[in-house]
Amino acid sequence: MSLIDLANPTRFLALSARVLPWLAAATVILLTIGLYQSASAPDDYQQGATVKIMFIHVPNAWLSMFVWGVMSLASLGTLVWRHPLADVAAKAAAPIGASFTFLALLTGSLWGRPMWGTYWEWDARLTSVLILFLMYLGLMALWRAVEDPSRAARAAAVLTLVGALNLPIIKFSVDWWNTLHQPASVMRMGGSTLDKAFLVPLLVMAVAFTLLFVTLHLAAMRNEILRRRVRSLQMMQASQKAA
């Protein structure tokens, strides 16, 4: 299986049809394990049972950035190799990424309410995710605003890459703007400060959600390819009969 084969939309449809059921099954299994483990995880001595929100909040927050990364790679594919499948990948990822980002925000604010006493705090991390969410919505609006998908793909690719370059700057500025935030815990230098009892379910859930994204993304890409096929057939239909 070479990359060229994968790059052909018809081949892609065939291959993805074979892979999808396995991916879906793996997602379900991992999600079940992850949910069971997070249910049986002990309470945190400080946060009590609310720590359980972390098991869905963190995977969604991770995905909110991961999906943008996937879209950035796809955008490179659009701009450098001008590959139509890259357009499809970028377009299909945006609504899914926006949904995960929305979940990260929602669970974050539900987690914050018991901790801070308010649903929303202009905390640096929440705020950064909110800006990311706005950028997702803007990107989706861009895809919707332009009727011709290949023209929209160019613009969206540029915006995605600029966004990817801008995200660290935004994150830095927001950090600077608001120094009242909790220290990052999972990726802290010198190892994790999380107890193993939390870390294992968290990692399982993160992998499960990533698999969920891959499954959904693949299915959405298939839909997008079919949508374009419908579009080109309709254009042919419009021109088929002359008189």
């Binding site: 065939a14 609310t50 539900l110 079919l226 057939l233």
Partner: protein, 60 residues
């Protein structure tokens, strides 16, 4: 039933919201797939074919 402490409603809401959003995503993907294949079949029936001469719906 495990005990979720004083903030049970927040925890349940988080999980429920995640479930709803995921179900909505799955629904979107499935319904979109049905719509596109239905339109492809309709185009196929009205005799529009792709340049290569293959049927529009043949997705092996």
């Amino acid at each position: 039933m495990m005990s979720l402490g004083p903030y049970a409603s927040f925890i349940v809401t988080s999980y429920a919201a995640a479930a709803i959003v995921v179900v909505m995503l799955i629904g979107w993907v499935v319904i979109d797939y049905r719509n596109q294949t239905a339109r492809l079949r309709e185009l196929d029936r009205s005799g529009v074919t792709r340049r290569s001469g293959r049927s529009a719906t043949d997705t092996p």
